[in-house]
Symmetry: C2
Amino acid sequence: MKKWVYFFGAGKAEGDGEWRDLLGGKGAGLAEMTKIGLPVPAGFTISTEACDHFYKNNKKYPAELKKQVIDNVARLEKVTKKKLGDPDNPLLVSVRSGSARSMPGMMETILNLGLNDKSVEGIAKVTGNERFAYDAYRRFVQMFSTVAMGMPKEDLEHKLRAMRQRLGVKEDTAVPASGWKELVGEYKAYYLEKAGQPFPEDPLEQLWGAIGAVFGSWMAEKAVTYRRVEKITGLLGTAVNVQQMVFGNTGDNSGTGVCFTRDPSSGEKIFYGDYLTNAQGEDVVAGIRTPVHLSELAKIMPKAYVQLEGVRVTLEKHYRDMQDMEFTLEEGTLYMLQTRTGKRTPAATFRIAMDMANEKLITKEEAMLRIKPEDIERLFYPVIDSKVDRKTLESKILAHGINAVPGAAVGKMCFSANETEEWAARGEKVILVRRETSPEDVGGMAVAQGILTATGGKTSHAAVVARGWGKCCVAGAETLDIDYKTKIMTDGKSGKSLKEGDWITLDGSEGIVYEGKMPLVTPELPKAYYTIIKWADEIRHLGVRTNADTPQDARKALEFGAEGIGLVRTEHMFFTDFEQPEKSHERQLAIQEMILANEKETRVKALDKLLPFQRRDFIGIFKVMDGFPVTIRLIDPPLHEFVPHEHAKQAELAKELGISVETVERRVAQLHEANPMLGHRGCRLTITYPEILEMQVRAIIEAAIECHKAKVKVIPEIMIPLTLDKKELGILVDATRRVADDLIKKAGVKLHYMVGTMIELPRAALLADEIAEVAEFFSFGTNDLTQTTMGLSRDDAGRFLPDYVDEKKAAVFHGDPFQTLDIKGVGMLIKWAIEKGRETRPKLEVGICGEHGGDAESVKFCHQVGMDYVSASPFRVPIARLAAAQAVVEDKQKAKSKKKK
Amino acid sequence: MKKWVYFFGAGKAEGDGEWRDLLGGKGAGLAEMTKIGLPVPAGFTISTEACDHFYKNNKKYPAELKKQVIDNVARLEKVTKKKLGDPDNPLLVSVRSGSARSMPGMMETILNLGLNDKSVEGIAKVTGNERFAYDAYRRFVQMFSTVAMGMPKEDLEHKLRAMRQRLGVKEDTAVPASGWKELVGEYKAYYLEKAGQPFPEDPLEQLWGAIGAVFGSWMAEKAVTYRRVEKITGLLGTAVNVQQMVFGNTGDNSGTGVCFTRDPSSGEKIFYGDYLTNAQGEDVVAGIRTPVHLSELAKIMPKAYVQLEGVRVTLEKHYRDMQDMEFTLEEGTLYMLQTRTGKRTPAATFRIAMDMANEKLITKEEAMLRIKPEDIERLFYPVIDSKVDRKTLESKILAHGINAVPGAAVGKMCFSANETEEWAARGEKVILVRRETSPEDVGGMAVAQGILTATGGKTSHAAVVARGWGKCCVAGAETLDIDYKTKIMTDGKSGKSLKEGDWITLDGSEGIVYEGKMPLVTPELPKAYYTIIKWADEIRHLGVRTNADTPQDARKALEFGAEGIGLVRTEHMFFTDFEQPEKSHERQLAIQEMILANEKETRVKALDKLLPFQRRDFIGIFKVMDGFPVTIRLIDPPLHEFVPHEHAKQAELAKELGISVETVERRVAQLHEANPMLGHRGCRLTITYPEILEMQVRAIIEAAIECHKAKVKVIPEIMIPLTLDKKELGILVDATRRVADDLIKKAGVKLHYMVGTMIELPRAALLADEIAEVAEFFSFGTNDLTQTTMGLSRDDAGRFLPDYVDEKKAAVFHGDPFQTLDIKGVGMLIKWAIEKGRETRPKLEVGICGEHGGDAESVKFCHQVGMDYVSASPFRVPIARLAAAQAVVEDKQKAKSKKKK
């Protein structure tokens, strides 16, 4: 017979802390705590498999469940020496949900189950406290009615308030037993009316109702949404924990508390928590009464405090991590209700990991594994100053949305991307506010402080684009109604309205929109960050480079620990002169002249104008990167991206270049492509126009020679994009070497450079053995490789990709394949290409320069397939460094567990 | 020492007919003929390797070549018993080029080499014919001057004409010895003036000059262009054949002829050719004198004729194919100068292959291998009626271009695609004439009779699009100047002008543009076609289906031998009601209403309107295809293709649908995609809108049930496009089966149907093992698979793909990968997918439905990788049938040759 129910109590348990998948986090924790001898109220857990069975069988319980529950109730009665529904010494239980992954606030709890008109008298008798008994009873009826039966909470709350008013009291603590008794009567009458049958007196009937409610909560809208947003997948369902009730609200000798074994905010090793006398756990959560700091307990009940300190030590030793515990004191006796790994701030995450490693509680390697990519990310983003009073802050909340990209941003609301560009150009700080964004909005997004949208989630266009830039974004704030015409934004929930130009503040880490200007601070990096990242650097194999187009970016990346540049996008220099912005227009003209040229001669003349600019840019970058490799990609995007598409701008350009506007129009029209992603771009451009390659190679090598002469150590790697064939690449490699070798020879210097290619097309990956014959290095352009392998345009995927990650819809992917590499498909090609490439050229240098180079999971894959380095945006370099180290640690762990088996 | 020179003569040869690559076609033929005992003038061949060496070493001859040539000259002198430059009995030789592939008229020949002021007297003495000797001498000087030294032919021709005028004669035959003598003097004076040195008297110097000229001709502009156009690649170079001269112009007992062992026009088994008394080969080619039919020779020189008949029999027996031979009679003695496989018309190709198989000269299998895809293609296309007088035809030639797509077409010239559509709509026959075409012209191209462009070659946009439709196209007629403004087309060569609206005729098989209306005929299929295609069907393994969207197309394909439909594009039915054209608009409205719908309910209502239309279409197709499988693809293209993009049409649509024009505009704008090829299309549409799938499946299955009840044998295969993941496909397969099974159950019939998918994305191919878990069949959509694997948009490739196939530029590909499958890259994925798919599902049905299904080379690949069928456009079905058979024969041949080794 399949086992669906697992008992714990009296120092023994049928499961343990490892069984999270089966018993849920709470159930596994209770079993574990019981086993290690902590004072845990006894109980049993209905497994997540039962929940899975429930949903797979048209919401029917497994056949054997009923008997197993009854057996376990009997066992619980034996251990507690109480009986469910016993009018003399009744057993009361709590019924709580608990899945393998914490989903705070998402699922249901029912307390004091087992009370009925008879047993309530038993409780009154046993505790000698009638008021307490009826208070417990009214709480139970209320919870059962709302949670198990779905009756509206407000109706019951209203009755409570009315009763208090009748009695003329302000707080629940002041309500006498008679008041509660009366309320129970009112609740039951209401229940009868709503349900069409009386409130169940049979405790077993109550219990099944509660179990059904817990299972039901698993598929509730909000829980499903939460799992989708948090990317929680692969769970069977929720477990149901049925546990003996203990009471912190029997008098001043009782109480309840929540505590952390270390400070969850700073990570400091102090005992931290809240305690509330004469209260049940829900009172702490509800926040009606203000708890005292845990240290007070030492004064109120010194014996209990010492015992709790003992539990703290035991738990940390046992779990080897900071714990978040709930406890109750019932008449001075300590009961542990829950323990789980405590949530903490990013700073605390680093501090605790470092401290525990230093305390030898965990190893350095384990310490590294404890850092999640988001922890690093959030260290670098600005946040709302913690000095702002919490109450003030809360009063300014306008709306909640999805925390799409962390960080905080302040600015004036603007509803149009074009105007955002205008405002920003005159120095304003702007938050771009849109119902949803589309590729046309990218210009405005780029200059905005932050982005707010009313629709879409973490894979929406807004979120994906903003994430690429590390720009704060709150998406899907669905209560907001944004009226583009009246330029007014109204929160449908609160009715509050703001108009365009008003200041707002976004908290992208929490997904909150505030009215007004909040002070922001960039948190100082904790000492522990430097310690742990140093540990990571000591063990990782993968090099970490950066994607940078300017000396400024390069310098920033160096600070973040980059060991070279894996991608310089030369065409970014076509439009902007980062050192002399007043020269940007001159550059633009030259590149546009080159594109509009009808014949080689004119093209070459335009390229000659561009050459000194590019050379200067490269010199700037080489100098910053002294001693580190710099991988420079030759022109990549389709030429239409460099010419104006509006008539007015075309006319202006024609005038400046002294050609007819018809010529400009015709040439721009010629450049139009149905699918530019798959069009005339990448090395196809230099096959058609070898003179562009010649100019760029000249600029690179001349810059390198100049730096070399100035004693800068230059290591240029010239990278040819979008290859699909060895012959094609060979032609371009030859052309590159011809120009480069000639310059080097003439300069009479010794300069080593490499010529390699990007692997961005499936065909290039498939034929990597041939391509490696002519390429000295591969750099995987995983953005394009993902687009082509999956046939998925990154610009357009916003239309349907959300359906593909939505758990309620297709759920084809676990996440956005442009964020985390599609290891199954795209990864298969990468692995193949590396193997084949190294068969041909064993010392082939291999790296990655797509967005995935800054994604921890993808970085680990890069380690597994034996790449030499990853290249990430500057601010993601630390994530890559740590992920590279974690990959090494995980390798070791796997090897070890294999050995064990 | 490397051997560069190969001797033949006196019944022995150092090479044979197989050595085409090394000796060129001519050299190998001479060696072979010598070996089998035919009367061939002796000589030697300088190998193609020498030419290759020449070009790889900065135009230097191999070191050993000089000595080897001198040795072979000595050997030749020994065999012929004559000496080069001997004043008494001089040896004269011809020097001819000859590569492994015939390139008619592309390379150079020099005759009578060895003549100088002394040896000419020897010839006069030996032949007793001074006139002949000086005639030969002036011919040699002329050829050497123009061919080896590149002097302008016109200058020399002018001197010849002047001399004839002086002498008052009209024909060369009337010029006396003194005339020729005088002319030689004039030529030499001219030579001295032009070259700055006297005409070489040393025969060896002459010989090296001639060899250099032959090598030089290999890289001449016209030869390179010819090879590019004819897709001739992989050759080392040209060989040089040095051979003893024989003379057909020593008197009436001499002569020269060209003959075919069978009629190259009809294929009939008759001895066919031309003979010219007292003439050299070049006289036949020049066409100055009219030769007589070969049968006349039997009367003039019966003995020689009988001997020639003997050679004919020997050669056909030996070569087992129709031969094209050149011979010379010198004083009654027969010399064979060349034999090669004869060119023939498509009809003759079939007739000769069939006859030879019936005669047991070749096997049936060899007969099948002799048919090329173009031979079949050209059987079906209309041609200019052969009754048109040849002279008339020639006088009407306006320009020559590239024979991009065969067939002929007549129509009025129109210079704009839009107007072409208008003209065609009012029933006019139109030829679309453009400098070049672009995707915007496709509408006009579709309704035009034929397409003419001034630029571009066989991979130009015009050629590629026209070929897809089997529509006659002459591309790259570069002498034509097309003025869009004045609407006048002028031929730069002849100066002839035509204006828009004038009639022209295109011959796409020859690449010729004619003025005026020529009568066209569709040739009757030769009997031999049916015989050979029957033989093919008997041995092929691959099934051949067709791509057809209407009952009409299906019927046509059945006539061509299709065994089912491999691709019905359901969306083609969205726009056109093929049975009741007046209902087309109603359909369009329904589909547009569906697309513009904001919510499911409205969408479903619109789909309900579409359902009866689709059902009726499927009934029509099922009835035609009674007993054959019909593979129906669910909606594939992005929705923006179905809605109007011009404001006026949007307004009209809004009015018809009773919605605001803003709604139409907004929705259309929402549908815009940056890269629609990689966007929201294929099964992504039905993931987003499952109701579309439900409607389509309902239409298919309801149609099938109705046909089934009417005793039609229906075998529906429902095909889901653009899959990339098993989970995605699984969702859609489940949805399909839910609808289908429910309908079948309700109808109470037994109906078998299959659900499968297209493999069009690299990811789907890579993960084929998983995908085969839910797909009952795979159909490779190689158009899209090529686009994604190569990152190459078919619509845009016209910009750069020509560079990629141009031998003088990149020459990355041998041909357009959208025509012939990229076996190396895309083929690797296909092979992998089939293997992996069948590992999961051994009986997985596998086919192909991209354009490649009608390309012979690609069909052979499909056979090799074990596909079950290919699906081709109706008119390419016979090509696929034959190619499938050829693949089997080639397999057998390979197996045999492996055994031998």
